[in-house]
């Protein structure tokens, strides 16, 4: 049987630069003296603090309670004393209420942390509850509460689960290393998700540029019924939810719809791993793997860090800067967010910290659009980015909407490929904001 390599239409082939970290085993970073744990690390309502300044907290203790269904609690990632509860700068660029905890270096475990029993004895609702209480939110970046994904409305019949191991963002290797080093846990997480959804088919989708991850995952899935590893072509944005579903199942998530509309649930490998830890050890989501990388970092690493660790500490641990840093990005270079300071904590959705040297980040001269059509060729959503952008820049958001601005997934392929270096994604994002604002007004 020849091995099929799956993919989607469009996309780009950026310089991956994964060799900076893809052979480096995950290193456990020493616990910092102080962690800053924002009470909002997920999509949805922020948490209410459960502790007061001066309280002693233990590792894994719940310190923020979820408000509402689309929300997850947060837990302390160290044991120690609450120093402050105040707004702190968050990777999203806003100030968000956060619990500052001084570490006592004892890592005293909270009493609640104990194994939850084996998978066979747990019901679907048990699993969802464990996942919710462990504070698990999607670890690929969007940080959508996982238990919500696992509770699709009854009219949406889910029949397939895909574990997203594409990791198509250049530079990032945290998922890659997780698959190489912890394949069993990931498979366990997938089985838990399958059971929670009462679904038989599970796929683990990996880009072919990670042969060691494919090998490890195939070994771990050998003999597991209904679970299959599929190979994806190496192309950005292969890991985009809609592109991934299209590649693996051939189904197209309808415009404005969700994966559940085509019977699919997608979870990141990091999420599957966290689910396994929550069930097997009872450990809530208090640490994650972050790739610290970029040509401007002295020793790039894959680090297992506690949630709330400051970027500054992580960079210091990696030997500081190499040359002149130009840009600091949380996430990958295509969709990550540029930060202006290192004084921000790593949160549940922080997959990478990327520091690019200043000679790679010089703003380039923007020239008028020549209608070269390269953006149309690469757009994975089949949009015409040049026209949406042009109308957006002319404040004609109604026409931008007619060109399907709202279907844009902001993957950045168009801006990446544009030979005139036009701010395509930026202006399309602006159009989306305006269109949604107008809709809210009308509603």
């Amino acid at each position: 049987m020849s091995v099929q390599i799956l993919t989607f239409k469009g996309g780009v082939h950026p310089q991956y630069n994964k060799e900076l970290t893809n052979r480096l085993p995950i290193e456990v970073m020493p616990v910092p003296k102080e962690v800053i744990i924002p009470l909002s690390q997920h999509a949805g309502a922020p948490c209410e603090p459960l502790v007061k300044v001066g309280d002693e907290v233990k590792l894994g203790q719940k310190i923020g309670e979820a408000k509402g269904f689309v929300s997850v609690p947060v837990h302390s990632s160290v044991s120690g004393k609450v120093k402050a509860i105040e707004p702190r700068l968050h990777p999203s660029g806003r100030f968000v209420n956060a619990v500052v905890i001084e570490n006592d270096n004892l890592d005293t475990l909270d009493e609640s942390i104990k194994p939850k029993g084996n998978l066979e004895s747990l019901t679907s609702d048990d699993i969802k509850n464990i996942i919710k209480e462990a504070g698990i939110a999607g670890m690929g970046g969007a940080a959508f509460p996982t238990h919500v994904k696992l509770s699709p409305p009854p009219d949406k019949k889910v029949d397939t689960v895909i574990i997203n191991g594409a990791e198509c963002e250049p530079y990032l290797t945290c998922d890659h290393r997780l698959m190489v080093e912890h394949p069993e846990e990931i498979v366990f997480g997938l089985k838990a998700i399958l059971k929670a959804l009462n679904v038989k088919n599970g796929f683990i989708a990996i880009e072919v540029n990670k042969p060691d991850a494919i090998e490890a995952m195939e070994k771990a899935t050998a003999g597991a019924e209904g679970v299959e590893v599929v190979r994806l072509a190496t192309k950005y944005p292969q890991g985009g939810e809609k592109q991934l579903i299209k590649a693996v199942t051939g189904r197209e998530v309808p415009s404005g719809g969700l994966p559940a509309d085509v019977g699919v649930v997608v979870d990141n490998v990091g999420t599957a791993y966290s689910i396994a830890r929550a069930i097997q050890q009872g450990m809530p989501l208090v640490e994650r793997v972050v790739t610290i990388t970029g040509q401007a970092v002295k020793n790039p690493k894959n680090l297992l860090v506690r949630i709330g660790t400051m970027l500054k500490d992580m960079i210091e641990y990696c030997g500081g800067f190499n040359g002149n840093p130009g840009k600091l990005i949380t996430g990958g270079p295509m969709m990550g967010i540029a930060q202006f300071t290192l004084e921000i904590p790593a949160i549940k959705g922080t997959s990478g910290v990327l520091i690019l040297p200043d000679d790679m980040t010089k703003p380039e001269k923007v020239r008028p659009c020549t209608k070269c059509a390269k953006c149309v060729d690469v757009c994975p959503m089949n949009l015409m980015p040049l026209f949406i952008s042009m109308y957006s820049l002319n404040d004609d958001f109604d026409t931008a909407e007619k060109y399907h601005a709202l279907d844009c997934i902001e993957c950045g392929c168009c801006s990446y490929i544009c030979p005139c270096k036009r701010p395509l994604v930026e202006s399309i994002r602006q159009a989306k904001r305006e269109i949604l604002a107008k809709r809210r007004k009308q509603a």
């Binding site: 130009g326 930060q339 690019l356 020549t370 279907d407």
Partner: protein, 321 residues
């Protein structure tokens, strides 16, 4: 650790593609044809090209200075326009013809509408149409390759059309492929043009959708509607004998004036092919490539409008069993 980090919107990573590099690639791709033109028509061909390029660049520069606009001659697009204008005139014309053509191309066709990317017809071809309408005699006096200036010859297409004096012989196909025939400076050598086109394809500056559909359509049409009945046409002469190769690879693919959608590009090519064939077979001119491209330029916005690709996820949702 108090570094200044640049904060911009994602993506933070840009490809190596640059418009000035793309335009430079086009210039590079046109050089084989320029060499061929110079070999067959003498130094005069090179001289006319230099005049044309100089006029194009100078016009763009002066207009941008006068309008207090950003100077954009460093993007090489004026150089490309200048070269293409020269490629579209016969090697026998007076020196000022390509200069006036380049001026028209840049000043009227390009700068009046806001400069690069905003012209809606191909500047070089509009200039050719302008020159042909204004000085028809100069623009249709062909030189015998390698001969002294002013000796008139005929293009293979004119011979096919029967507009030239009797007795003119069609050259053999190999001669036509190499380009040792009458024609404009840059259009005669299919060989040289194809080398350039291969380079552009390799550099991903153009794709094959427009050129291939254009050339195939002309081939099929001229084969079907032959002079001696259906399916007898000398289609290879039609493909090699005029400006088809130059037009299909270098001018119909011009970015601002051709459709951006994949289907639209194929429609553009077929449309150009049909119009070229109609003008060559039944129209008033032996050559129709430039007019056909100009006419398709006109409808390019409409083609884009009606060939919008199906947006991901907008087809009927497949019901899950």
């Amino acid at each position: 650790m108090d570094n200044q980090f640049l904060v911009t919107s994602s993506p933070h990573f840009r490809s190596e593609f640059k418009i000035e590099r793309i335009m430079l690639d086009v210039v590079i791709a046109l050089i084989p044809a320029l060499i061929a033109g110079t070999i067959f028509f003498g130094m005069r061909a090179l001289l006319l090209t230099i005049i044309s390029v100089a006029a194009a660049v100078l016009t763009e520069y002066v207009i941008e200075v006068l309008l207090h606009k950003e100077i954009t001659i460093d993007d090489f697009s004026a150089v490309v326009t200048g070269m293409l204008v020269a490629f579209n005139v016969p090697p026998t014309v007076s020196w000022w013809i390509p200069a006036v053509g380049s001026f028209f191309a840049i000043a009227i066709v390009k700068m009046c509408f806001g400069g690069i990317g905003n012209n809606f017809v191909n500047p070089a071809l509009a200039a050719r149409a302008f020159l042909l309408a204004s000085w028809p005699v100069q623009m249709t006096t062909w030189a015998v390759p390698g001969a002294v200036d002013g000796v008139s010859s005929a293009t293979p297409l004119a011979i096919l059309k029967g507009t030239e004096v009797a007795g003119a012989q069609l050259p053999n196909l190999w001669t036509m492929f190499v380009g040792n025939i009458g024609g404009t400076i840059g259009e005669t050598s299919a060989l040289a043009l194809l080398i350039g086109a291969a380079y552009l394809l390799y550099r991903k500056v153009i794709n094959l959708r427009i050129p291939l559909s254009f050339i195939i359509t002309v081939g099929v049409m001229t084969w079907i509607f032959g002079p001696n009945g259906m399916f007898t046409g000398p289609f290879l002469y039609h493909i090699l004998g005029g400006g088809l190769i130059l037009g299909a690879f270098f001018m119909a693919t011009d970015y601002p004036t051709s459709p951006v959608t994949p289907l639209g590009q194929v429609i553009m090519g077929i449309g150009c092919g049909l119009l070229t064939s109609v003008i060559r077979l039944w129209g008033g001119y032996p050559e129709g490539v430039s007019y056909s491209i100009l006419l398709m330029n006109m409808v390019t916005p409409l083609i884009d409008r009606y060939t919008m690709p199906r947006v991901f996820g907008t087809r009927e949702v497949k019901k899950v069993a």
